[in-house]
């Protein structure tokens, strides 16, 4: 597989702050590359360095096998990027916003092309409306349309689900999978939320404080035998007691933060569920977490927002 992104020893300091510290990674063609880290871990700084928005303090960045320093224009023409949620030109319509960026991306602009693209992101019926009245989700979708209008080989999405409702998040997820599977594009997507990344990524990189923590394929990082299930019930203490006296005792983990968790194989979950009902435990929730999540939690000191 040809290398699309190759970063070696990348560093960036802002004054005394080491935002990115000796970061190296490779993104291959066809990857959906998950870039995971807490807010402020250095994800955005890294992505901005890939897009020449920030000049690296040191290190080597190559895209499509060429140095970013010497082939900037050529490389950028093949990248579609959305960095966080852009507000765009509020006084212009969705159509006009898209037209501007299509032109600047070197597209042969036609009404059909623009309308098709708006159709893809579900904004065709709002094409002539000013962006001023758009919801965050709509702006996000327009941002994605802008990133994809020139049919780039590499798509970089920085925190694409920030501020979106569950439906919006699901749409983005579908879009990423479509880009990769149907359109055979290489996608790099960053997030501070593990479950978003793990559902779409084929390879994952976790960084913290600008340093690489771990990088690998999803298969490597996610072992289904290491599934962790969290149970929240009416009386967690009692639940723990009941389970420790049952056949599940060997799976039971020490109770932390008043949450009962068990490590087990994914296909054991249904029977656990049945047993809990038989034991007359009132369950509020039963959540499945992977070891990667534990890992992520561990490296990020557990300071992250858990979403469903």
């Amino acid at each position: 597989m040809p290398e699309i992104i190759n970063v070696e020893g990348l560093c960036k300091t802002f004054g005394k702050l080491q935002a990115v510290n000796n970061l190296s990674f490779t993104v291959n063609e066809g990857d959906v590359y998950g870039f995971l880290g807490q807010n402020g871990a250095g994800k955005s700084t890294t992505i901005r360095m890939l897009l020449t928005l920030i000049a690296p303090t040191s290190g080597k960045v190559e895209l499509f096998g060429k140095s970013l320093l010497t082939h900037r224009k050529e490389i950028l023409a093949q990248i579609g990027a959305m960095i966080e949620r852009p507000d765009l030109y509020k006084y212009l319509s969705a159509y006009d916003n898209l037209k501007i960026f299509a032109k600047l991306s070197g597209c042969k602009v036609s009404e059909q092309l623009l309308m098709n693209q708006l159709e893809v992101v579900g904004l065709a019926d709002r094409a002539k409306d000013k962006v001023k009245g758009f919801s965050q989700g709509m702006k996000q979708r327009l941002g994605i349309a802008i990133a994809l209008i020139h049919n780039p080989a590499l798509v970089i999405l920085d925190e694409p689900t920030n501020g979106l409702d569950p439906q919006g998040i699901a749409d983005i997820r579908k879009l990423i999978i479509n880009l990769s599977k149907e359109q055979k594009k290489t996608v790099m997507v960053s997030s501070h939320l593990l479950n978003e990344i793990e559902q779409v990524a084929t390879r994952i990189l976790i960084i913290d404080k600008g340093k690489k923590i771990i990088e690998g394929t999803k298969q490597e990082l996610l072992d289904p035998n290491q599934t962790v299930v969290e149970i929240e019930s009416s009386n967690n203490g009692n639940t723990y007691q009941l389970l420790s006296n049952s056949s599940w005792a060997s799976h039971l983990q020490p109770i932390t933060n008043n949450i009962v968790s068990l490590t087990l194989n994914k296909n054991q979950i249904p029977s656990l569920h049945r047993n809990l009902v038989e034991m007359n435990i009132d369950i509020y929730s039963l959540q499945q977490r992977h070891s990667l999540e534990d890992y992520f939690l561990k490296v990020t000191k557990g300071n992250y927002v858990h979403t469903v």
């Binding site: 901005r48 224009k73 050529e74 852009p86 509020k90 212009l92 032109k103 600047l104 802008i146």
Partner: protein, 291 residues
């Protein structure tokens, strides 16, 4: 770069803010014209002041040419605000809307970006001046008619024959354009240091106000630094309205008292523009886009 330039122009003329300047100019000029139409005589008396103790200046003093001169004299102090409104927003506005990172990650060099944006701001400035010229000169001529122009200066008064005026206005508007593009360059330069346009607009106006105070006050200390202030040179358009006289104290038609001053000021303003735009490109090239 041409595409970027066209896109920038498209953006400028699609936003409502642009037309505020044109509307403001129309309103201000109309007010001045209305005022002079109603009370022109009193204003002329005020302008003539002491002169009317010994002299009687007869004729249509309050004519279109004179009105245009008054408008330029009054407005060229205020137009910079309207220029800054757009020019100071050129980069800061993009940062604010989150489009700067989008634009700069497109296959365009930052130098192209700066030049295209500045050229677009220049086009806006020039169009604003064309509009001012149309209202202040041609509409005034339509309302007030034409005649010789009689102007009072610090040390003397000048009368210029009506057939010797039009080319002076052409020169004056060209020069005013240069002065206003300089203002645009200042605002544009400041624009990249902020993430919303308020800061650069206020900063541009503050610089112009402070510099104008330096330029206006005749204090020996200030006089030394005056030649270095662009505001001192911005008013050199008035030199087009001063004539030379021959040995018999007859004014020479088609002459300018101090053409060297106009050329000198124009060169200084051009140097400012080139310098500020180059600096803008230099700083933006080195800048990390964090907005």
């Amino acid at each position: 770069m041409y595409t970027l330039f066209k896109v920038e122009l498209y953006k400028i003329f699609k936003r409502p803010r642009t037309y505020i300047a044109f509307a403001a100019m129309t309103a201000l000029i109309t007010i001045i014209q209305l005022g002079l139409k109603v009370d022109g005589k009193e204003y002329i008396e005020f302008v003539l002041g002491d002169l009317s103790n010994t002299l009687q200046v007869d004729g249509k003093l309050c004519n279109g040419y004179f009105v245009c001169f008054c408008i330029l004299n009054l407005l060229l102090i205020h137009v910079p605000l309207l220029i800054a409104l757009i020019a100071a927003d050129m980069i800061s506005g993009e940062a604010n809307m989150g489009t700067l990172r989008l634009l700069l990650s497109k296959p365009i060099t930052r130098t192209q970006f700066v030049v295209a944006k500045f050229l677009a701001a220049t086009v806006y400035t020039l169009l604003l001046l064309v509009w001012i010229a149309f209202l202040a000169l041609f509409v005034s001529i339509f309302i007030f008619g034409t005649d010789d122009i009689f102007l009072v200066k610090n040390n003397y008064a000048v009368q210029i024959a009506s057939n010797d005026i039009m080319w002076r206005y052409l020169g004056a508007f060209f020069f005013a354009a240069l002065a206003m593009v300089t203002v645009a360059a200042v605002a544009f330069f400041l624009s990249q240091f902020a993430e919303n346009s308020i800061g650069p607009i206020v900063a541009t106006m503050s610089i112009i106000i402070v510099f104008t105070i330096f330029s206006t006050m005749s204090i020996p200390l200030f006089n030394k630094i005056k030649p270095f202030m662009f505001t001192t040179h911005m008013v050199a358009w008035k030199e087009f309205f001063d004539v030379r006289v021959n040995a018999d104290n007859e004014s020479i038609a088609g002459s300018i008292q101090r053409p060297d001053k106009i050329i000198n000021s124009a060169l200084i303003l051009i140097a400012h523009i080139v310098g500020l735009v180059s600096l803008s490109a230099y700083f933006l090239k080195k800048k990390d886009i964090l907005s």
